[in-house]
């Protein structure tokens, strides 16, 4: 069953085709990776899928539902969460509050229940507090629950983004370079974490430069080059694909 479908999608920025007639499918319950050289259009693809950009043509489906014209927050409500290559954390909030923000859609949002502190809002928010702490422990941040976000080390901040994304109970989790800037040890930890998330039933799409990480955990890999799909398949197939080798190492043509 297809969790995410990208259908002949094109994104044109002026004269540049950042994404060029791209189609692929992401099946439910596995780790999928999108790789490609710098500027291949990986982050653009994420921005198209999450609704930051609207495609020039083509469309995206989440779990069979057409996402065309849906805003970012609406797509989030449909079960899509993401993390960012350049961290997008709220440094004016504690670590736990950042995670609680991720659970926003699961909480009573009526202005009046907040204004008058109605009991159901207080109860839901308290449960959310506890769950946020549990999630932080799950991603390995049990020591940082009530810390100031800005005082956390970089690796912990990357995990915090994952905890926030998980707080929304997503069907689909998009991870934009979760290992960038981490050392080998930390990367191994992230790999473990992604594997755990996937085993808990969340479909994961990963954009990543760390080939070891990608090859280790991906069931399915899409290779982009100049916005086009260069190849698609299992880790084994991609590793031996002549076009992929050429794109990464330079063609011996």
């Amino acid at each position: 069953m297809s969790m995410l479908t990208v259908e002949s999608m094109t994104k044109q920025f002026g004269g540049l085709r950042a994404i060029d007639d791209l189609s692929f499918e992401v099946t439910q319950g596995a780790v999928h990776s999108v790789i490609g050289p710098n500027g291949a259009g990986k982050t653009t693809l994420f921005n198209l899928v999450t609704g930051v950009y609207q495609p020039t043509s083509g469309r995206v489906l989440l779990d069979g539902q057409d996402l065309s014209g849906k805003a970012v927050h609406q797509r989030a409500a449909m079960g899509m969460s993401r993390t960012f290559q350049n961290l997008q954390l709220c440094y004016n909030m504690t670590a736990r509050e950042n995670v609680m923000l991720g659970a926003h859609l699961g909480l009573p949002q009526s202005f009046f229940s907040s204004l008058l502190r109605l009991p159901h809002m207080i109860r839901a928010d308290r449960q959310c507090r506890d769950r946020a702490a549990a999630l932080m422990e799950y991603v390995g941040l049990g020591d940082y629950v009530d810390h100031e976000t800005s005082a956390m080390p970089y690796g912990a901040q990357k995990r915090l983004e994952i905890a926030r994304a998980l707080a929304a109970d997503p069907k689909l989790l998009l991870l934009d370079e979760p290992a960038a800037g981490l050392n080998a040890n930390e990367t191994a930890g992230i790999e473990e974490l992604i594997r755990g998330v996937s085993e808990d039933g969340v479909t994961v799409v990963l954009v990543e430069h760390d080939m070891k990480l990608v090859m280790n955990i991906s069931e399915h890999i899409v290779v982009l080059n100049y916005g086009q799909k260069l190849a698609e398949g299992t880790a084994q197939e991609i590793r031996n694909h002549p076009d992929v080798i050429a794109a990464y190492l330079g063609a011996a043509a």
Binding site: T50, H73, Q88, C90, H104, S113, A133, V139, D143
Partner: protein, 331 residues
Amino acid sequence: MSGNMTAPVRGGRKTNWKDVVFSPRYGGLATLLLVLLATPLFIEGLYQFDIAILVLINATVVIALNLLVGYAGQVSLGHAAFFGLGGYATAVLTTRYDWPSLLALAAGVVLVAAIAAVMARPILRLKGYYLAMATLGLGMIIYLIITQETWLTGGPDGMSVGALEVFGYTVFDELVWYWILAGLLLVMYWLAVNIVESPVGRALRALHGSEIAADNSGVNVTHYKTLVFVLSAGVAALMGGLYAFYSGFIAPNTAGFMHSIELVVMVVLGGMASLVGSIVGAALLTILPQYLVVFSEYEWLVYGLILMLMMIFMPRGFVPTLHGLIRRVLG
């Protein structure tokens, strides 16, 4: 959820007395209540009551403005225009059209809230300096209309306003005004604490922290920006209306640029994203100029110096800096 990535359990943090004393909900509210109750015992005469009442009005406006500027991170340099417009709407409706006081007051709030709601969408798309410019422009347009439409507003001379009448009772006495406005400030403070400590408040702070993160977490950014803009404008209009009744006179400078700046300085000086700070900021900046009169021609020089020194030594604002200091001493 299971996982083998668990770190040592830290457990739920116990609430200790310091957390309660320093919490805006308990310590803050109790302190505010005590100060409001005690103040009339220490002040006397029309002049001091007049200042106290101005502090109450400003503090209420600044709390609502802090929700917009300090918490949600959306600068407004035109907020006095909402205050002035609320005042003028009340003044015009009661004196020229004989509306009852409370109805005129409500009409002013509704008018301003409607303007804010319509303007919110185009204006709040802008960020940083551009948003500041746009709100400045909106404020100037309202100010210009007030000064130009002399037939309605009395133009630059301003206009006089009748007394506030509530269910046949006319409010004249300074002490009665004091209690009315103190009650309002208390209610405003309590409601603001409720908002801040709720999912709505978290969404607002997330707009300040990272709009992208908020959006991707399912926060409807436009909705929340509009909400807090309309709320803060509406409160400003309400207080503007009450100010008009209280002073019996309203002039265009209440809607002017300098007043807008004053309000934002109160937010920043007291402490961005600090509700107690809003009250302290409003009190400091309302009271300070009264005492600087002793410096006669150097009054504004000293005033400016004090502001500069405070911002240099307390960049986060008066209350957050003090709070941090005390907590560090207490350990």
